[in-house]
């Protein structure tokens, strides 16, 4: 079975400035895949190419095994997308906006529209002008339009941008429900690593148009266990096979015990004040990978 999404050696420059350097990765059917990178990393360009809005200089993008560049309409037939700030016709109601956007896909029944509106929790305000909506409501309307008519793949470009913490949590729950209840394949583009960490199993990391990593983010985890350690005086010689990752952080290799390290330090007259496991976040891994911090 072909991958739900495939990027094949994509290259793109804007006015001579490279935006993507031969980026390739695949997203399997039914997974939530995170596309990570800071602003200007090339996420939006990659997404634009996947939607046929940006023409690649080289390479090809596939959705459901169909080339977006060669058969755009067929490739996007089962695709929904929202951008970081979904734009609407503010002078029209949310319902009218849904009618307008879905008219460019396929005939959508009233019941399908009602269901999408209810799914995102906008039923009470759907007849109001979009101009009166909050940012969170706009995002939810954006998600509703992306769900019409019945996509199998959904692209989410920074869907939590501009939302308050409550809105971010709501959006996260909606995305998880989409995946769980409808089995959608989700390509989640974000620079918010905490969101990607919660939602995605596999990620691709872009930096300045280069693909730095693709795979399970857990695989980025160090093989050993990391500890934050405070001791006085600080003595690197006594660490032995324990690696100093950065000031105050050590990595104990598999098969070794941190207790042995502590005993060695205490035996040498070092005063050990704190030894605690350091939880590795995706953010730290990302910074190490991208910035070597």
């Amino acid at each position: 079975m072909s991958a739900a999404i495939r990027l094949d050696n994509l290259r793109k420059s804007f006015a001579g400035k490279p935006a993507l350097h031969g980026v390739s990765f695949e997203v399997q059917r039914g997974e939530i895949f995170g596309l990570l990178g800071h602003n200007g990393a090339g996420k939006s360009t990659a997404l634009g190419i996947l939607l046929g809005q940006v023409y690649p200089d080289e390479g090809e993008a596939f959705v459901g095994g169909i080339s977006v560049q060669r058969e755009r309409a067929r490739a996007l037939l089962k695709v929904g997308a929202i951008f970081e700030q979904p734009r609407f016709y503010d002078y029209l109601s949310g319902w009218r906006n849904l009618e307008i956007f879905t008219s460019y896909s396929a005939a959508v029944s009233r019941a399908e529209m009602d269901e999408a509106v209810e799914f995102v929790g906008l039923t009470a305000r759907i007849r109001d002008d979009v101009g009166t909506y909050s940012q969170g409501m706009r995002q939810r309307l954006g998600l509703a339009q992306a769900l019409l008519p019945a996509p199998e793949v959904i692209f989410l470009d920074e869907p939590t941008n501009g939302l308050d913490p409550e809105g971010i949590a709501e959006m996260r729950v909606l995305i998880q429900r989409l995946h769980r209840e409808r089995g959608l394949t989700v390509l989640f583009c974000s620079h918010l690593l905490s969101e990607v960490e919660v939602l995605c199993e596999r990620v691709a990391i872009l930096n300045k148009g280069n693909l730095l990593y693709t795979g399970r983010w857990h695989d980025l985890m160090p093989k050993g266990t990391r500890y934050r350690i405070e001791m006085e005086p600080w003595s690197a010689e006594l660490l032995g096979d324990v690696q100093l990752v950065r000031p105050g952080i050590v990595e104990v290799p598999p098969g070794s015990d941190v207790a042995d390290l502590v005993a060695r330090l205490v035996g040498a007259g070092v005063r050990v004040r704190v030894v605690e496991p350091e939880r590795q976040t995706l953010e730290q891994l990302y910074l190490e990978k991208v910035l070597n911090v």
């Binding site: 360009t45 695709v79 734009r87 460019y104």
Partner: protein
């Protein structure tokens, strides 16, 4: 079926905007001002003098002709070419570029629809707007004029086109209504020119201003005696052919030639607009 839904959606967007109705409101106010001015005895004396001079002293029947139909014709002739062009350039120049600027074009282009189809439904909605605007202007001028002075015969007088003719009420009404269709076809050139610039990577205001600048420059140059030998190249020369519907007999061959020229211009504008739009990258 889907095409009709898309077309309906475009019309809905266009006619739900306040800006779309600005043209209608502005024209109606202008019509009222001109019609009010035409009611004064000073204006009546002026036109009577003109009428008598050009009809070889038929002042006795002036009262039959200085009525609603003639007034509507005057209002149309005085206003629609210049003011109409402003609103058509505004709508044509806005229809694509505003959506690109607002970001709704990107939302639309997420859908499995070709760029050609998107432009086609947008252009057709501009055609409808042009027709509705012209019919509104002609219809409201006629109705307002009739309400004040009845229908009457038609005294069609356009000095710059060397046109002077009298029609009975029935014939006048037929010619007037037919003229609205031809006028729509003429003014569509402005809409299409604006539409072409709207497809470029330009702000909506820039597309409108460029369209109006070209239109006015064309109009001004076509009136200059120094450009007399180039007159047939100017689009406004051909656009003015709508007044030929008031000649007796109607010069169909000349009208057909003018509209063929305008059709060629419109087709060129559309092809250029589409070529530019279809090659553009859309990105936030």
């Amino acid at each position: 079926m889907l095409f009709l839904r898309q077309f309906r959606a475009e019309l809905l967007k266009m006619f739900a905007r306040k800006r779309t109705w600005m043209g209608f409101g502005a024209f109606f106010v202008l019509e009222l001002i001109i019609l009010l001015k035409l009611q004064t005895s000073e204006a009546e004396r002026f036109f009577q003098r003109d009428f008598t001079r050009n009809t070889g002293g038929m002042e006795l029947i002036f009262g039959d002709y200085f009525r609603g139909l003639t007034m509507a014709f005057m209002v149309m002739g005085l206003t629609i070419f210049l003011l109409g062009s402003v609103f058509l350039a505004l709508v044509g120049g806005d229809v694509v570029s505003k959506e690109v600027e607002d970001g709704t074009m990107r939302m639309t282009l997420c859908r499995p629809v070709s760029r050609f189809r998107v432009l086609l439904v947008k252009y057709l909605s501009c055609v409808v707007y042009t027709l509705v605007l012209v019919v509104f202007i002609g219809g409201s001028a006629l109705l307002t004029g009739m309400a004040w002075r009845g229908v009457g015969g038609l005294f069609a007088y356009v000095p710059e086109e060397h046109l002077l003719v009298l029609f009975t009420q029935k014939e006048g009404l037929i010619r007037f209504c037919s003229a609205l269709v031809f006028l729509t076809a003429s003014l569509l050139t402005i809409t299409t020119l604006g539409f072409m610039f709207s497809c470029f990577n330009a702000k909506p205001a820039a597309a409108t201003v460029i369209t109006l600048t070209l239109f006015l420059a064309d109009r001004i140059l076509s009136f200059m005696p120094q450009f007399e030998s180039y007159k047939h190249w100017f689009m406004t020369t051909h656009m003015a052919t709508w007044t030929n519907i008031f000649r007796d007999p109607i010069p169909w061959e000349r009208i057909a030639g003018d509209y063929m020229y305008l059709f060629g211009l419109n087709a060129t504008f559309l092809i250029v607009g589409y070529a530019v739009f279809s090659r553009r990258d859309f990105k936030s």
